[in-house]
Symmetry: C2
Subunit: 334 residues, 2 copies
């Protein structure tokens, strides 16, 4: 700002500047599209309308801040889940690292498939296969050690098709959506079938979701003393499977409130959306439909990963929002 007379300066300080700043701010907010990577089509309108209504003070659909809970599935909703869940890729890498100590894996599925590079057999082994791999590769170490291993791997690994870090295979429109909700007083949670401790090391930085707002599947841990220091050992025993009907269970367990908005992309998210829909007042249920084989992937069902069938039928029957990725997203990645 150029130097001006002291009287003017006083006036500027006293009255003009605050008004100017306020006006500029209002203009900026109005002019700034909070969802620039979304085309101005049905899904975007439905989302913006929902947020506008639940945040309008005195409106009939107003929801107090504390109850503005939004839950997001992770795989296929916030980042790419094809051709294999990222955590599968991590487990595969761990199997290869640990294989020299496990001669028996050469003849034992799904380890054999991993070591043979037989991705088709591996993908077909589904969640059961993932569980076996997780038990063998994710446990027997402390929570701190596991966090270090995940951080190292995710920093170095690349998606096989997009040749970039998995943490850059996240959906730009969804990042904008989460930021938009948070700017409107929402608390955003991840509610994923994936392992909670696999997500925590990087999700805070990538999604802006703090560690304590990440809900996922888990193994049991045990508190014990190691050389006089307490550690939590990861045990080869499933504690909780946060998928399908497990998602409402996880939501109640960890949050204790029903979300008013929920976002998913597969049949594993169906019960989370049903649970969200069944509460009183305005609700937003959204399914991301992968329709873009060029920029990402096109699949619903059958698919060994992220199958979308019954949830899509229910979404259509109940007028939930179904996002057509190809038509409604201007860009996919950041």
């Amino acid at each position: 700002m150029k130097r001006i007379s002291s009287k003017l300066a006083l006036k500027w300080e006293g009255l003009a500047r605050p008004l100017f700043v306020a006006a500029l701010f209002a203009f900026t907010v109005a002019a700034q599209d909070p969802l620039p990577s979304w085309n101005d089509s049905f899904s975007k309108s439905a989302i913006v309308q929902f947020v506008t209504e639940v945040t309008r003070q005195g409106g009939s659909s107003f929801v107090p801040d504390a109850q503005r809970i939004a839950t997001f599935d992770n795989d296929g909703t916030l980042w790419v889940e094809q051709p294999l869940y990222t955590q599968f890729a991590f487990a595969v890498a761990r199997v290869k690292t640990l294989a020299p100590k496990h001669a028996e894996w050469k003849e034992q599925q799904p380890f054999k498939a991993v070591l043979d590079g037989d991705m088709k057999t591996l993908a077909a082994s589904g969640e059961r296969g993932l569980v076996q791999l997780i038990m063998a590769t994710h446990t027997g170490i402390t929570t701190d050690e596991f966090q270090g291993i995940v951080s190292d791997w995710i920093g170095a690994a690349r998606h096989p098709r997009f040749q970039r870090p998995f943490t850059e295979c996240v959906y730009q429109p969804m990042l904008e959506l989460m930021a938009y909700l948070r700017a409107n007083g929402f608390k955003t949670y991840i509610v994923s079938g994936g392992g909670v401790e696999f997500m925590r090391p990087w999700a805070e930085k990538v999604y802006g979701v703090p560690r304590e707002q990440i809900i996922g599947s888990s193994v049991k841990t045990k508190f014990e003393m190691q050389n006089g220091s307490p550690v939590l050992m990861r045990l080869p025993e499933i504690d909780f499977v946060d998928d399908g009907a497990g998602k409402p269970v996880g939501i109640q367990k960890f949050i204790g409130r029903r979300p008013i908005a929920a976002f998913g992309n597969s049949d594993g998210d169906q019960q989370m959306l049903e649970w969200t829909a069944a509460g009183p007042g305005k609700r937003l249920m959204v399914l991301i439909h992968h329709t873009d084989a060029i920029r990402e992937y096109a699949y619903d069902h059958p698919s060994p990963v992220g199958a979308l069938d019954k949830a899509l039928l229910e979404a259509k029957a109940k007028s939930w929002v179904v996002v057509d990725m190809k038509k409604e997203w201007k860009r996919i990645f950041p």
Copy 2:
């Protein structure tokens, strides 16, 4: 404010008022003791010094906001746990309500003790007894139904000695401490051996701790459809026991971060304090020692409820803060 000349008014608006307000605010903050119910003795000094150090920007002990996690035991740390855990009292009331449908309880412990009013046998049945009562009285209903039952009971029940609602048998010094920590950027969590769904209906209002920051013991729940609406049924099966070595497990499971401050009162809190103490940087570990038979209760060990023995020895050996309730608290209840 009296009407003054427009020139002066402009000056007031432009410069004097903000300065005045800032000065007044600083004065108020300095003059206002955030812990008025604490005597100016060792524990208060240690707490204030810890908070001052971890919040001092640029200081060697500075901790960023996101890592300012403080965990509080509930029974005996935030509210009265004598002569029986409040949840025990709730279970007792439920047993009496449900007894007409359970003739077998007349001969079966701990139900017989409840129906005979034999509080000594009941207290002696300890956690095992509580679990049996919980399975019989806390399950087989939906989460929403359970919440309604707890709310109704806690609104009407009275503490047998203090003849006031249990939610008014909370410790005023601890309410001040939680508010003080929150005002300094801490996220306060309850980490209790008690049932999480027993605490959630009232703890938000009483302690200012939101439902999603309450960690406790739990039963398994199951998502199912009831007349076309989804519900979560409470099953007669323990999901998680958030006590003793379970507390660090619960903290990692639900928060995913190690607390920098932890508050307890019994051996059931020992591992939580050890887990907190073992992290890097400044740490605050506090035990409330019940020494006031006149205003509250005097007990440590042996005690069927809230026994404090090994944790007290460790606290003394490691210079954790031990609050002498009788000497250090000006008042007990709000």
